[in-house]
């Protein structure tokens, strides 16, 4: 590291502090308000009506919300695991090897990040509508749209995001250690397992968290590729809007928020344990 550090002084320091505070208020005030109103004893989403835990009880008793949450979690976990493996492999391939078609592969890999959600959703819809027909006709199977197609499409867009994050980590990493290991007769696999993988782990964890969040979040693509029985939580919440939003939605959001905070804390903790161990 050759970066020089200097403390900001005077007006600069003051301005930066104010800016930082404002940014945090901007980020967290809506979340604080959402959390507060999830305890509001009023059917209207934005009116305070005294403290209640009723919306959390409703959440615990509402089968539809829970089914949707369960679908969301399943899809998110499977699509995260698969896309982390494939995305990391893609990042390694692009960063460490030269092969024919690399430039095209590179460009194509990032398409899902650039293409608008709706466009991607319609493409996926047509792909599955036609593709399932084709496969069923050719192999006599009876595939249907459902949790499987939702998971596949989440994997499809998550791979791009994971590989971007992992690749950034790889690009900033010196290859000296890897070369040293190879010089000392470590096999390719051993080098990867003991040298490369630990170094890119923060990138992989970051990519995984990003993939998990994106998958839990997605409405547009999911709505288009879903089939019977694969309504995810955000899609269900979205369909409720017509009927008026109640603080039940706030309660659901807070539960999901707490779950993701726990996930982030766990990943930080895992990171800390590992670094202090080595």
């Amino acid at each position: 590291m050759t970066a020089t550090t200097a403390r900001p002084r005077g007006v600069t320091r003051f301005a930066l502090t104010i800016n930082a505070v404002l940014v945090f208020v901007f980020f967290y005030a809506p979340i604080a308000i959402l959390t507060l109103f999830s305890f509001s004893d009023d059917r209207l989403v934005g009116r305070w009506g005294g403290f209640t835990l009723g919306w959390y009880r409703d959440f615990a008793a509402n089968d539809e919300v829970q089914d949707a949450l369960w679908v969301s979690v399943r899809v998110a976990i499977v699509s995260t695991i698969v896309s982390v493996v494939l995305g990391t492999l893609a990042a390694l391939a692009l960063e460490r090897f030269r092969f024919r078609g690399q430039r095209v592969f590179d460009a194509v890999l990032y398409l899902p990040i650039i293409i608008p959600d709706v466009t991607m959703a319609v493409m996926m819809l047509l792909f599955f509508a036609q593709g399932i027909d084709l496969v069923n006709d050719m192999f006599g199977t009876s595939f249907r749209k459902g949790v499987g197609t939702v998971t596949l499409s989440h994997i499809a867009f998550n791979i791009s995001f994971v590989s971007v994050v992992v690749r950034a980590r790889l690009a900033g990493m010196s290859q000296v250690l890897e070369e040293a290991a190879l010089d000392l007769y470590a096999s390719r696999w051993k080098t990867f397992r003991h040298i490369t993988l630990p170094q890119i782990m923060p990138g992989i964890v970051g990519g995984a968290l990003l993939a998990l969040t994106l998958s839990l979040d997605d409405v547009v693509i999911t709505q288009f590729v879903a089939g019977p029985g694969s309504t995810t939580l955000p899609v269900y919440v979205f369909s409720l809007i017509r009927k008026g939003v109640t603080p039940l939605i706030n309660a659901v959001s807070v539960v999901m928020l707490v779950a993701s905070i726990i996930l982030v804390l766990l990943s930080l903790l895992a990171d800390r344990v590992r670094t202090s161990g080595s």
């Binding site: 209207l44 027909d133 809007i241």
Partner: protein, 373 residues
């Protein structure tokens, strides 16, 4: 990558797409034929039901009752608008058996060949429908593809604390500046953000049909909406009922059932009322329809018949507070629902269904966009 490889790749992709498209078309045709060819007996089921419906529109107890009676399970997924449902059904292979599109969407789906003709022999309870719903609906005149599910109206939700109890039941409350002023509605009313509904309201106020295809009549309606836009609080189709009950507006244009639910949760339900102005307004109906490539068409017919049963139809209305098209169900509907003029308007003679005006539809959209400004 060298150009040759790229070309090869492209050629491969193109041929794959073509093959996929060709196969898709083939089997689409076959599916349609199959669906038409299967005949279902009354109460016959051929697998679990996949239902695609509006959120909170079907009593869960009815689902359980159906599952127990027929020994199949029901998977229900929900959508928030006709427009969100339509592309999924039209792309094919949706996996859904039964859907609940609104009036105008039924004609769109029929036109694109996405609905299966109902096998009326398998649905004897169609006889329970009120004559006006049994046939002659503008979107499906012979009731070939659809059977009514529930209906309702579009009108005004009013905060009587602002307007007073003597408020006249007229569209003039928004379209007549003098009335607007008199009842304290300037800047305090919302209209639906929907070309057909809002221009339709203006057309009714002027005494025209809301399905007009006359440029002059539409221009008059557009001028009214444009004038009203000058003192409107919002054009809103999602939260108008909440804005009203939370005191952010005093009058809202919207759908009957939403107001009823919202008033029920308000601190003082008597403070609010709903009516369809005396000049008339829109009446809408949601319908059950079997998807052309439904995996389980017979279960879909069995479910349709089940919901059209007198007691089940009544249970549906008692649960979601929308009016039932089922004549036989009336004795079983709670008196308070049946006698509620919000659910069942006393005079339906002035109400019209929005029908598809075909190529003229674009004029409604254009006029609305210009009027909203």
């Amino acid at each position: 990558m060298n150009p040759r490889t790229l070309l090869r790749l492209l050629a491969g992709l193109v041929s794959l797409t073509l093959v996929a498209a060709a196969c898709g078309d083939d089997s689409d045709g076959a599916d349609g034929g199959d669906g038409g060819g299967t005949t279902c007996e009354v109460g016959e089921v051929d697998g679990d039901l996949a239902l695609y419906n509006w959120a909170e529109y079907l009593d869960p107890d009815l689902v359980t009752a159906f599952e127990e009676e027929f020994g199949v399970s029901v998977v229900e997924d929900t959508y928030d608008s006709n427009e969100a449902m339509q592309p999924i059904i039209s792309a094919g292979n949706s996996g859904y058996d039964l859907i609940v599109p609104s009036d105008y969407m039924v004609s769109i789906l029929i036109e694109s060949g996405d609905l299966m003709a109902i096998q009326k022999d398998a649905v004897p309870n169609l006889a329970n429908l009120l004559p006006e719903f049994a046939s002659g609906l503008p979107f499906d005149p012979d009731a070939t593809y659809s059977a009514p599910y529930q209906w309702g109206t579009t009108g005004f939700g009013v905060d009587l604390a602002v307007t007073g109890d003597d408020v006249p039941q007229t569209w003039g409350l928004v379209f007549d500046p003098a009335l607007r002023e008199q009842y304290g509605l300037n800047g305090a009313f919302t209209l639906l953000n929907d070309p057909r509904e809002t221009l339709g309201a203006a057309l009714k106020y002027l005494g025209y049909s809301l399905n007009t295809t006359s440029d002059e009549e539409l221009a008059e309606a557009k001028a009214l909406v444009s004038e009203a836009a000058g003192s409107i609080a919002a054009f809103d189709s999602d939260q108008y009922d909440e804005l009203l009950v939370s005191g952010n507006s005093a009058l809202a244009h919207g759908f009957s059932g939403n107001f009823l639910t919202q008033f029920g949760g308000a601190d003082n339900p008597d403070q609010y009322t709903y009516f369809v102005p005396e000049e008339g307004g829109t009446r809408w109906v949601d319908n059950m329809a079997v998807v052309v490539d439904a995996p389980h068409p017979c279960t879909a017919h069995a479910f349709m018949n089940f919901l059209l049963d007198a007691e089940n139809g009544a249970a549906l209305t008692n649960w979601n507070y929308y009016a039932s098209p089922n004549e036989a169900a009336q004795p079983f509907i709670d008196a308070e629902v049946l006698e509620d003029p919000i659910v069942y308007p006393e005079d339906t003679s002035q109400l019209e269904f929005i029908s598809d005006t075909g190529d003229f539809e674009i004029n409604f959209s254009d006029a609305f966009i210009e009027a909203v400004g």
